[in-house]
Protein backbone atom coordinates (compact mmCIF):
# COMPACT_ATOMS: atom_id res chain seq x y z
CA UNK A 1 0.00 0.00 0.00
CA UNK A 2 1.25 3.42 -0.89
CA UNK A 3 0.84 6.34 1.41
CA UNK A 4 -2.29 8.46 1.14
CA UNK A 5 -0.45 11.67 1.94
CA UNK A 6 -1.18 13.88 -1.05
CA UNK A 7 1.93 14.46 -3.13
CA UNK A 8 0.28 17.24 -5.09
CA UNK A 9 -2.31 19.87 -4.28
CA UNK A 10 -4.68 21.29 -6.87
CA UNK A 11 -6.32 24.60 -6.08
CA UNK A 12 -9.57 24.68 -8.04
CA UNK A 13 -11.26 27.18 -5.73
CA UNK A 14 -13.37 29.77 -7.49
CA UNK A 15 -13.60 27.62 -10.62
CA UNK A 16 -16.92 26.39 -11.93
CA UNK A 17 -18.09 23.26 -13.77
CA UNK A 18 -16.38 21.58 -15.59
CA UNK A 19 -13.03 23.17 -14.76
CA UNK A 20 -12.40 21.38 -11.43
CA UNK A 21 -12.76 18.03 -13.24
CA UNK A 22 -10.62 19.08 -16.19
CA UNK A 23 -7.87 20.40 -13.91
CA UNK A 24 -8.07 17.22 -11.82
CA UNK A 25 -7.57 15.06 -14.89
CA UNK A 26 -4.63 17.20 -15.95
CA UNK A 27 -3.03 17.02 -12.51
CA UNK A 28 -3.48 13.24 -12.34
CA UNK A 29 -1.93 12.77 -15.79
CA UNK A 30 1.31 14.27 -14.51
CA UNK A 31 1.39 12.00 -11.45
CA UNK A 32 2.64 8.47 -10.89
CA UNK A 33 0.30 5.56 -10.20
CA UNK A 34 -0.48 5.22 -6.47
CA UNK A 35 0.23 8.88 -5.69
CA UNK A 36 -2.48 10.92 -4.01
CA UNK A 37 -3.83 14.27 -5.14
CA UNK A 38 -5.55 16.83 -2.93
CA UNK A 39 -8.18 18.84 -4.77
CA UNK A 40 -9.61 22.00 -3.22
CA UNK A 41 -12.79 23.42 -4.69
CA UNK A 42 -15.67 25.75 -3.94
CA UNK A 43 -18.05 24.51 -6.64
CA UNK A 44 -20.89 22.52 -4.95
CA UNK A 45 -21.35 20.60 -8.23
CA UNK A 46 -17.84 19.24 -7.91
CA UNK A 47 -18.91 16.91 -5.08
CA UNK A 48 -20.96 14.67 -7.39
CA UNK A 49 -18.68 15.35 -10.34
CA UNK A 50 -15.50 14.25 -8.58
CA UNK A 51 -17.28 11.09 -7.38
CA UNK A 52 -18.44 10.31 -10.89
CA UNK A 53 -15.05 11.16 -12.36
CA UNK A 54 -13.31 8.79 -9.96
CA UNK A 55 -15.67 5.89 -10.62
CA UNK A 56 -15.48 6.36 -14.40
CA UNK A 57 -11.70 6.65 -14.51
CA UNK A 58 -11.11 4.01 -11.76
CA UNK A 59 -9.10 6.42 -9.65
CA UNK A 60 -9.83 5.98 -5.97
CA UNK A 61 -11.58 8.71 -4.00
CA UNK A 62 -9.95 8.33 -0.59
CA UNK A 63 -11.79 11.12 1.17
CA UNK A 64 -14.17 14.01 0.61
CA UNK A 65 -14.85 16.76 3.10
CA UNK A 66 -16.74 20.02 3.27
CA UNK A 67 -15.75 22.88 5.52
CA UNK A 68 -17.98 25.92 5.19
CA UNK A 69 -18.47 25.48 1.47
CA UNK A 70 -14.87 24.64 0.77
CA UNK A 71 -14.50 21.10 -0.47
CA UNK A 72 -11.45 18.89 -0.22
CA UNK A 73 -10.98 15.63 -2.05
CA UNK A 74 -8.13 13.19 -1.88
CA UNK A 75 -7.80 11.00 -4.94
CA UNK A 76 -5.36 8.17 -5.46
CA UNK A 77 -4.26 7.67 -9.03
CA UNK A 78 -4.92 4.15 -10.30
Amino acid sequence: MTTATPATTLDARGLNCPLPILRTRKALTAMASGEALLVQSTDPGSVKDIESFCSQTSNELLSASNEDGEFQFVIRKS
Binding site: C17, P18, F53, Q56
Partner: protein, 207 residues
Protein backbone atom coordinates in the same frame (compact mmCIF):
# COMPACT_ATOMS: atom_id res chain seq x y z
CA UNK B 1 -51.15 -36.91 -23.90
CA UNK B 2 -49.62 -39.17 -21.30
CA UNK B 3 -47.39 -40.79 -23.82
CA UNK B 4 -46.07 -37.41 -24.97
CA UNK B 5 -45.38 -36.28 -21.41
CA UNK B 6 -43.50 -39.47 -20.69
CA UNK B 7 -41.47 -39.12 -23.84
CA UNK B 8 -40.51 -35.51 -23.09
CA UNK B 9 -39.70 -35.81 -19.41
CA UNK B 10 -36.25 -37.40 -19.76
CA UNK B 11 -35.24 -34.59 -22.09
CA UNK B 12 -36.65 -31.65 -20.14
CA UNK B 13 -35.24 -32.74 -16.80
CA UNK B 14 -31.58 -31.60 -16.94
CA UNK B 15 -28.97 -34.27 -16.38
CA UNK B 16 -26.57 -33.58 -13.50
CA UNK B 17 -23.62 -32.87 -15.82
CA UNK B 18 -25.80 -30.70 -18.04
CA UNK B 19 -26.80 -28.56 -15.06
CA UNK B 20 -23.16 -28.19 -14.03
CA UNK B 21 -22.25 -27.23 -17.56
CA UNK B 22 -25.09 -24.71 -17.68
CA UNK B 23 -23.92 -23.15 -14.44
CA UNK B 24 -20.34 -22.93 -15.62
CA UNK B 25 -21.44 -21.44 -18.92
CA UNK B 26 -23.54 -18.78 -17.19
CA UNK B 27 -20.70 -17.92 -14.87
CA UNK B 28 -18.17 -17.65 -17.69
CA UNK B 29 -20.60 -15.67 -19.80
CA UNK B 30 -21.19 -13.16 -17.00
CA UNK B 31 -17.44 -12.85 -16.40
CA UNK B 32 -16.78 -12.28 -20.08
CA UNK B 33 -19.56 -9.69 -20.37
CA UNK B 34 -18.24 -7.86 -17.31
CA UNK B 35 -14.76 -7.88 -18.85
CA UNK B 36 -16.06 -6.52 -22.16
CA UNK B 37 -17.90 -3.77 -20.32
CA UNK B 38 -14.85 -2.88 -18.24
CA UNK B 39 -12.62 -2.72 -21.33
CA UNK B 40 -15.09 -0.70 -23.36
CA UNK B 41 -14.06 2.90 -23.92
CA UNK B 42 -17.21 5.02 -24.12
CA UNK B 43 -17.55 7.31 -27.10
CA UNK B 44 -19.56 10.42 -27.87
CA UNK B 45 -20.43 12.30 -31.04
CA UNK B 46 -21.76 15.83 -30.88
CA UNK B 47 -23.14 17.93 -33.72
CA UNK B 48 -22.68 21.62 -33.02
CA UNK B 49 -24.82 23.89 -35.18
CA UNK B 50 -24.95 27.24 -33.40
CA UNK B 51 -22.32 29.92 -33.08
CA UNK B 52 -23.59 32.22 -30.35
CA UNK B 53 -21.83 32.59 -27.01
CA UNK B 54 -24.56 30.74 -25.08
CA UNK B 55 -24.78 27.85 -27.51
CA UNK B 56 -21.01 27.47 -27.69
CA UNK B 57 -20.88 26.24 -24.12
CA UNK B 58 -22.81 22.93 -24.24
CA UNK B 59 -20.70 21.20 -26.92
CA UNK B 60 -17.36 22.31 -25.50
CA UNK B 61 -18.26 21.60 -21.85
CA UNK B 62 -19.64 18.16 -22.67
CA UNK B 63 -16.74 17.30 -24.96
CA UNK B 64 -14.05 18.44 -22.52
CA UNK B 65 -15.71 16.67 -19.59
CA UNK B 66 -16.21 13.43 -21.50
CA UNK B 67 -12.57 13.53 -22.58
CA UNK B 68 -11.58 14.02 -18.93
CA UNK B 69 -13.55 10.85 -18.12
CA UNK B 70 -11.48 9.03 -20.70
CA UNK B 71 -14.08 8.90 -23.47
CA UNK B 72 -13.41 9.15 -27.21
CA UNK B 73 -15.11 12.32 -28.39
CA UNK B 74 -15.81 13.81 -31.82
CA UNK B 75 -17.56 17.11 -32.44
CA UNK B 76 -18.86 17.96 -35.89
CA UNK B 77 -19.20 21.71 -36.45
CA UNK B 78 -21.67 22.64 -39.13
CA UNK B 79 -23.52 25.76 -40.24
CA UNK B 80 -23.18 28.51 -37.60
CA UNK B 81 -21.41 26.06 -35.31
CA UNK B 82 -18.41 26.35 -37.61
CA UNK B 83 -17.85 29.85 -36.19
CA UNK B 84 -16.67 28.16 -32.99
CA UNK B 85 -13.57 26.90 -34.79
CA UNK B 86 -12.36 30.29 -36.00
CA UNK B 87 -8.89 31.39 -34.98
CA UNK B 88 -10.31 34.61 -33.58
CA UNK B 89 -13.39 33.95 -31.52
CA UNK B 90 -15.65 36.95 -31.20
CA UNK B 91 -18.84 35.29 -30.00
CA UNK B 92 -21.91 37.29 -29.18
CA UNK B 93 -25.22 36.62 -27.53
CA UNK B 94 -28.62 37.99 -28.43
CA UNK B 95 -31.38 38.34 -25.84
CA UNK B 96 -33.77 39.20 -28.71
CA UNK B 97 -35.74 36.13 -29.71
CA UNK B 98 -34.15 34.34 -26.76
CA UNK B 99 -36.93 34.68 -24.19
CA UNK B 100 -35.55 32.20 -21.66
CA UNK B 101 -32.29 34.09 -21.35
CA UNK B 102 -32.16 35.91 -18.02
CA UNK B 103 -30.99 39.51 -18.22
CA UNK B 104 -29.08 40.11 -15.03
CA UNK B 105 -26.61 42.67 -13.81
CA UNK B 106 -23.17 41.09 -13.44
CA UNK B 107 -22.06 43.74 -10.94
CA UNK B 108 -23.53 45.65 -8.02
CA UNK B 109 -25.20 44.61 -4.77
CA UNK B 110 -26.70 41.12 -4.58
CA UNK B 111 -30.32 42.28 -4.63
CA UNK B 112 -29.62 44.08 -7.88
CA UNK B 113 -27.85 41.09 -9.42
CA UNK B 114 -30.84 38.89 -8.53
CA UNK B 115 -33.29 40.94 -10.59
CA UNK B 116 -34.30 39.49 -13.95
CA UNK B 117 -34.74 42.56 -16.08
CA UNK B 118 -37.65 42.23 -18.46
CA UNK B 119 -36.66 44.28 -21.46
CA UNK B 120 -39.24 44.90 -24.20
CA UNK B 121 -38.42 43.40 -27.60
CA UNK B 122 -38.79 46.85 -29.13
CA UNK B 123 -35.92 48.13 -26.98
CA UNK B 124 -33.74 45.08 -27.65
CA UNK B 125 -34.33 45.37 -31.37
CA UNK B 126 -34.16 49.15 -31.59
CA UNK B 127 -31.35 50.27 -29.33
CA UNK B 128 -28.06 50.27 -31.23
CA UNK B 129 -25.37 48.21 -29.50
CA UNK B 130 -27.86 46.32 -27.34
CA UNK B 131 -26.36 42.94 -28.26
CA UNK B 132 -22.84 44.20 -27.61
CA UNK B 133 -23.93 45.30 -24.15
CA UNK B 134 -25.72 41.99 -23.43
CA UNK B 135 -22.62 40.10 -24.57
CA UNK B 136 -20.40 42.18 -22.31
CA UNK B 137 -22.70 41.54 -19.35
CA UNK B 138 -22.81 37.80 -20.02
CA UNK B 139 -19.02 37.61 -20.31
CA UNK B 140 -18.67 39.50 -17.07
CA UNK B 141 -21.07 37.08 -15.32
CA UNK B 142 -19.18 34.06 -16.71
CA UNK B 143 -15.92 35.50 -15.49
CA UNK B 144 -17.30 36.41 -12.04
CA UNK B 145 -18.65 32.89 -11.54
CA UNK B 146 -15.40 31.18 -12.54
CA UNK B 147 -16.86 29.63 -15.71
CA UNK B 148 -14.21 28.89 -18.32
CA UNK B 149 -14.04 30.95 -21.50
CA UNK B 150 -14.83 29.23 -24.79
CA UNK B 151 -11.19 29.67 -25.85
CA UNK B 152 -10.08 27.86 -22.70
CA UNK B 153 -12.58 25.03 -23.13
CA UNK B 154 -11.61 24.63 -26.76
CA UNK B 155 -7.92 24.34 -25.98
CA UNK B 156 -8.71 21.88 -23.16
CA UNK B 157 -10.64 19.79 -25.71
CA UNK B 158 -7.68 19.80 -28.08
CA UNK B 159 -5.30 18.95 -25.28
CA UNK B 160 -7.49 15.96 -24.36
CA UNK B 161 -7.56 14.70 -27.99
CA UNK B 162 -11.17 15.59 -28.71
CA UNK B 163 -11.61 15.39 -32.48
CA UNK B 164 -12.96 18.66 -33.82
CA UNK B 165 -14.22 18.11 -37.35
CA UNK B 166 -15.57 20.77 -39.65
CA UNK B 167 -18.22 20.80 -42.33
CA UNK B 168 -16.75 21.47 -45.77
CA UNK B 169 -20.12 22.41 -47.26
CA UNK B 170 -20.58 25.27 -44.76
CA UNK B 171 -17.26 26.81 -45.82
CA UNK B 172 -18.32 26.71 -49.45
CA UNK B 173 -21.83 27.93 -48.71
CA UNK B 174 -20.75 31.05 -46.84
CA UNK B 175 -17.64 31.76 -48.93
CA UNK B 176 -15.35 31.22 -45.99
CA UNK B 177 -11.68 30.37 -46.19
CA UNK B 178 -10.15 27.37 -44.39
CA UNK B 179 -7.34 29.73 -43.36
CA UNK B 180 -9.76 31.51 -40.99
CA UNK B 181 -9.98 28.41 -38.82
CA UNK B 182 -7.68 26.81 -36.26
CA UNK B 183 -5.15 24.40 -37.77
CA UNK B 184 -5.98 21.70 -35.18
CA UNK B 185 -9.19 20.76 -37.01
CA UNK B 186 -9.04 16.98 -37.51
CA UNK B 187 -10.71 17.02 -40.89
CA UNK B 188 -12.95 18.85 -43.32
CA UNK B 189 -15.72 16.40 -43.92
CA UNK B 190 -19.37 15.93 -44.80
CA UNK B 191 -22.35 14.19 -43.25
CA UNK B 192 -21.45 10.89 -44.92
CA UNK B 193 -18.12 10.87 -43.10
CA UNK B 194 -19.47 11.86 -39.71
CA UNK B 195 -22.49 9.56 -39.55
CA UNK B 196 -20.46 6.32 -39.43
CA UNK B 197 -18.59 7.74 -36.41
CA UNK B 198 -21.87 8.73 -34.77
CA UNK B 199 -23.33 5.30 -35.51
CA UNK B 200 -20.68 3.60 -33.37
CA UNK B 201 -20.93 6.14 -30.53
CA UNK B 202 -22.54 5.40 -27.18
CA UNK B 203 -23.76 8.97 -26.85
CA UNK B 204 -24.90 11.21 -29.69
CA UNK B 205 -26.00 14.78 -29.15
CA UNK B 206 -27.24 17.56 -31.37
CA UNK B 207 -26.67 21.11 -30.16
Amino acid sequence: MNATAQQLSPQTAPQPDQAAFQKLFDQRFDERMAQIEADHIPSMSIISTKGTLDMAYPPFILAATAAALGWDVSVFFTFYGLTLLKKDLDLEISPLGNPAMPMKMPVGPEWLQAIDMKIPNLVMAGVPGFEKMATKMMKKSLDNKGVASIEELRSLCLEADVKLVACQMTVDLFNMDQEEFIPEISGWIGAASFLPTAQKSDVTLFV
